[in-house]
């Protein structure tokens, strides 16, 4: 059976990546590739802009809705209560106002609203916005996607290691948005260029593919490095506590076991069974 929390997280992640990917693609691939061509006013570009705008808005709405669902489901899990109850008794507001996750969610909601306003202003204005009009949207889309790092395993660890983990998680998300999120607008651009076969469409398609390829190399490099870093840190955090501290063994409850070489940082004596700790989720 599908865990609703995992399903909602996946929807939120995918929609956030798509939103950031389309905005990044517009800034770094589509606009420069089309700037040098006469195609800008053609049917292919018009169709491309209409479709990507539609996907962008659907993605943004889906991302906000799935973010709210994530908050509700997480509050229910934390309090071990049904969703109706956590909304009615105010637990959801405690999660929102008094936890790190809640802080991240407030921040991300702000970014989402600012991004929506920025996109709306852009679409209401000039049909071919300048770099200075596109840049704030890309910045906000990056902040919206990257700040997802504040809500998950990027928070693991303490001190300097936590900061490294957080930074790597942020970069990982941005690189995913840049590359994976950019696949949909790239595919759309190539499809419409090929369908309408307007003058110079092949050179524009080559230019766009080349720009995206360069971005892809950069993004994959960042994904590999940051992903490796996350794996190393997670592996250490997952393996060490089980091996080093208070993991259960089969020793009787009152037996005090000296766990030399295997205990926590202070080599304390552990009555293993009574010191059992377990995760509930």
């Amino acid at each position: 059976m599908i865990n609703p929390l995992i399903a909602v997280r996946d929807i939120h992640f995918v929609s956030s990546v798509i939103v950031a990917g389309i905005v990044f693609f517009d800034l770094s691939v589509a606009s420069p590739a089309l700037r040098t061509a006469d195609l800008r006013r053609g049917a292919a570009v018009a169709m491309f802009k209409t479709r990507t705008a539609k996907i962008l808005w659907i993605g943004l709405v889906l991302s906000i809705l799935s973010g709210f669902a994530w908050l509700c489901l997480l509050s229910a899990r934390i309090a071990s209560k049904p969703i109706e109850e956590v909304v009615a008794d105010g637990t959801i507001w405690i999660v929102l106002s008094r936890t790190q996750f809640g802080f991240a969610w407030e921040l991300r909601f702000l970014f989402a609203v600012m991004l929506a306003v920025s996109l709306w202003l852009r679409s209401a204005g000039n049909a071919s916005p300048s770099l200075w009009q596109r840049f704030p949207a890309a910045l906000l889309a990056g902040a919206f996607l990257g700040s997802l790092a504040l809500a998950g395993h990027g928070q693991e660890g303490l001190g300097f290691e936590r900061n490294i983990h957080l930074a790597a998680d942020f970069l990982h998300l941005i690189a995913a948005g840049l590359w994976l999120g950019g696949l949909i607008p790239l595919a759309l651009l190539l499809v419409y260029l090929r369908r309408f076969r307007e003058e110079t469409w092949t050179s524009v398609a080559c230019d766009a593919a080349s720009r995206f390829s360069n971005l892809g190399i950069l993004a994959v490099g960042v994904l590999l490095i940051s992903g490796n870093n996350q794996c190393l840190i997670l592996d250490r955090w997952h393996a060490e506590p089980r091996r080093h501290t208070l993991w259960p063994t089969v020793t009787p409850q009152n037996d005090v076991v000296r766990r030399d070489g295997l205990s926590g940082r202070d080599q304390q004596a552990v009555p293993a069974a009574s010191a059992l700790q377990q995760g509930r989720n």
């Binding site: 996946d10 008094r98 936890t99 928070q155 696949l183 955090w237 501290t245 304390q268 009555p271 995760g279």
Partner: protein
């Protein structure tokens, strides 16, 4: 259109994921787990491997009869949770804790310590 379908499918396939689980692990405590302390401690301190959320973390210390001997609400600073204790008589005390780490995972556990010889 086939290319778009392929790109979307690839994106969804890459992103189809399962949850990576992580928790705040209890690293060490004062008094130490299972230890015997000659004099009654004034507080119990628990050190965790991650920062904790104070709104959803709690600790209870009780004597052999199950009566609470802690002074109530714990104080939490980063990955350290501490609670004051009433004047303890010699005997065995049980500490039950439940914490929510900043990565939103809940962990719970218990241990005992002894006061006296």
């Amino acid at each position: 259109m086939r290319m778009l379908t392929f790109a979307t499918s690839a994106l969804l396939a890459v992103m189809a994921s399962t949850a990576a689980e992580a928790h705040a692990f209890l690293d060490h405590t004062e008094p130490r787990v299972g230890s015997t302390v000659p004099t009654a401690p004034r507080e119990v301190i628990l050190f965790y491997s991650q920062n904790l959320e104070s709104a959803f973390s709690s600790i209870e210390v009780s004597d052999a009869n199950g009566a609470r001997v802690d002074l109530g609400k714990p104080r939490i600073n980063a990955g350290v949770m501490r609670v004051g204790l009433k004047q303890l008589a010699p005997g065995t005390y049980k500490v039950r804790w439940q914490v929510l780490s900043v990565d939103t995972h809940t962990t719970e556990g218990s241990f005992s310590f002894h006061v006296g010889k």
